[in-house]
């Protein structure tokens, strides 16, 4: 069943400045065929819409450092990211109202993003609707098509970005726990990993939070094809070990579990008891 904007109680209507059309036209003209040109045009409108909305909320975003601002066949013709400095890349996917049945996120957009925003587009292109956003999901819970009912209210996005900024500041610091986390996970960007932690923290009951965070840590290791043991032994000194220490896989998993508890303590200090509002 297709959707209409009336189905979104929390959608935000936004008038686009003329600049948005000019950029979109410029990028679309450079594509090799009309279908790609149209996709690039709509992506550009979606990215510009979020840029415009964030500016209204006094949140800085940087078009020029976003991959979507360089759409060409050799790199990323379907890129629709917007860089929010100090937070990470937010994916802005255009959704054709009256035609779409689900929120579609291409494979290429899952990696290295901190959130996914659905931008509704109707027949008139000078006005768009910010339908809602989706936080990062754990790698074992990725789907290309997501029901629109799972979108969170757009008005909560600024707070969400603020949480991520706080988390990233900690993870980039010289804090001992942060250093251990950085050593253990190298496969994701730090911004994306903070977003994974945020999801684990915010969408889980208190008693299960540490195991979800442990899953994030060992999941990052296994994405690199490493066991927890191999991941820890990459830089034993960081974990207070010596190269010759002969610890079993179970011991290492315990170490990851202890690290997860330390991470949780830090996150509680940073994020407190805040929880996402669920629609």
């Amino acid at each position: 069943m297709t959707i209409t904007v009336e189905q979104f109680d929390n959608a935000i209507s936004l008038e686009l400045p003329q600049d948005a059309q000019e950029w979109a036209r410029l990028f679309a003209a450079k594509q090799g065929d009309v279908a790609t040109g149209k996709q690039v045009y709509l992506n550009t409108l979606a990215v510009y819409a979020l840029h415009h909305y964030l500016a209204q909320q006094s949140i800085e975003s940087d078009l020029e450092q976003s991959q979507s601002w360089y759409p060409h066949a050799l790199s990323a013709p379907n890129a629709a990211d917007l860089l929010v400095p100090g937070v990470g890349r937010v994916e802005c996917r255009p959704v054709l109202l009256q035609a779409a049945t689900a929120f579609e996120i291409p494979d290429t957009a899952w990696d290295d993003r901190v959130a996914y925003v659905a931008i509704g587009i109707e027949e008139r292109l000078d006005r768009v609707y910010l339908l809602g956003y989706l936080p990062v999901r754990s790698p074992d819970n990725l789907m290309q098509s997501i029901p629109f009912t799972q979108l969170l209210p757009m008005a909560d996005l600024p707070d969400h970005l603020h949480f991520l900024q706080e988390g990233l500041t900690w993870l980039e610091s010289d804090d001992e726990v942060a250093v251990q986390v950085r050593e253990l996970q190298e496969v994701y960007s730090l911004t994306h990993f903070v977003a994974q932690l945020e999801t684990a923290y915010n969408e889980t009951e208190d008693v299960f939070q540490d195991s979800r965070i442990a899953d994030c840590l060992s999941g990052a290791a296994s994405e690199m094809g490493l066991t927890a043991r191999e991941a820890v032994l990459k830089s034993p000194a960081t974990f207070g070990l010596k190269a010759e220490d002969d610890l079993s896989e179970e011991d290492m998993e315990d170490m990851v579990g202890i690290l997860a508890e330390d991470v949780l303590d830090k996150l509680r200090q940073i994020w407190g008891n805040r929880r996402r509002r669920v629609t």
Partner: protein, 399 residues
């Protein structure tokens, strides 16, 4: 305050310049020299009878010559919009000032002469209002941008009427943009980019062919090197647990053939979320290491381009990649020390870099030791430099 028209009316009974002067009179007593000068020049025109054609033309030319002096007249680079920055970055070699001067002299000034009766000053001061009129209404600004974008100043100069029609269509669309009209507008824009008479499918095929050829710009020698991998370095490496998917295969497929990463991931049964970061964090750096450290795979101008990009760091990405609280220890600085393209001899040893940073008081020895500095370069800074280098080279190929 009405003015006295001292010269006889033109054959149609109206002296257009007198009307222009009439509209300018409210500005006669303001404190701007330039405004006074403009008004005096128009007064001089009006005082010459229309039948003294030569004298009057000379007076008109003197007035029009003042347009070049308007302080807010569009001038490339004076205060760039993001769109101008984008175009400048795309076409750095384009002499934008010369193009602007030609457009001003050959198109816009003659148009100002023909349409001066449409000039209705409304601002606080006369000169900036006239400048805005020339920039916007006479389209100096847009003509320049179109010319930069198409890299065809002649299109703006010789084919102004057609250009006006195209712009009119765009303006109608832009005023009321709709999804239904979008494909037509894009098709028209794309058609302007391809050679006359070539169909869209044929153009797409040719463009792909050109892209493929350009994708091999790193010279046949380099392609042969990747295929032969004489030292076996690229064949020996692969993402953990996927031995068939060697770096050699990934470079051939993703960089040289431009195959879609998702397709490669499916073919080798690697989760895309695993392949993509691995490619960015490990394959690109290893690849660029070869490109940069092995001699002769790129032309000297490619190395110049890369050096220029790193030195300028136009997006600020490299300078923003730094150790917390040590902004001088950043990817740009380290690239300049470590990459062979900057040095004929070997890269500066990390110990020397570390000592130099201490001497510059860029960091305290207790905050970052030499091993940590090397680790920062290998794990964080160099992967970023490598990705940027690939992006810059690939993007230039398309342009």
């Amino acid at each position: 305050m009405p003015i006295t028209i001292q010269n006889p009316a033109q054959p149609d009974g109206i002296d257009l310049w007198a009307n222009v002067l009439n509209r300018m009179m409210p500005y006669k007593h303001n404190d701007q020299d330039l405004d006074q000068r403009l008004i005096a020049l128009v007064e001089a025109i009006v005082q010459i009878p229309p039948d003294e054609v030569e004298q009057r033309e000379a007076a008109i030319d003197r007035f029009l010559g003042m347009i070049y002096c308007l302080p807010n007249l569009y001038f490339p680079g004076k205060k760039e919009t993001p769109r101008e920055q984008f175009l400048r970055r795309q076409f750095p070699e384009w002499d934008r000032e010369a193009v602007r001067d030609r457009i001003l002299t050959e198109v816009v000034i003659p148009k100002a002469k023909a349409k001066i009766h449409e000039f209705y000053p409304t601002g606080k001061y006369l000169a900036p209002t006239l400048g805005n009129w020339v920039n916007r209404k006479l389209r100096l600004y847009y003509k320049c941008l179109d010319a930069y974008q198409n890299r065809r100043p002649d299109a703006a100069l010789d084919n102004d009427q057609d250009g006006a029609n195209e712009r009119l269509e765009w303006e109608i669309f832009a005023a009321n943009p709709t999804l239904s009209d979008l494909e037509d507008i894009i098709a028209q824009d794309q058609a302007k980019q391809r050679p006359e008479g070539m169909s869209a499918p044929l153009f797409a095929e040719v463009a792909q062919g050109i892209a493929n050829v350009l994708g091999q710009t790193p010279t046949q020698r380099f392609i042969t090197y990747v295929k032969d991998d004489p030292q076996g370095v690229l064949r020996a490496k692969s993402p953990p647990n996927y031995p068939a998917c060697t770096y050699q295969v990934l470079i051939q497929r993703i960089f040289l053939n431009q195959d879609d990463k998702t397709a490669v991931a499916k073919e080798f049964s690697i989760p895309y979320q695993n392949l993509n970061p691995h490619y960015n964090r490990h394959v690109c750096p290893a690849f660029i290491q070869r490109l940069i450290l092995e001699e002769g795979f790129f032309d000297p101008q490619d190395y110049d381009k890369l050096r220029h990009y790193i030195d300028q760091d136009p997006l600020g990405l490299l300078q923003n990649c730094y150790k917390p609280q040590m902004p001088k220890v950043n990817a740009q600085f380290l690239a300049q020390q470590r990459l062979r393209i900057y040095r004929e001899a070997d890269p500066v040893p990390f110990e020397d870099i570390w000592n130099s940073l201490i001497q510059q008081q860029a960091m305290a020895p207790s905050r970052l030791d030499c091993d940590q500095l090397e680790k920062f370069w290998v794990k964080t800074a160099f992967p970023l430099v490598a990705q940027e280098a690939l992006r810059v080279l690939a993007y230039d190929l398309e342009v």
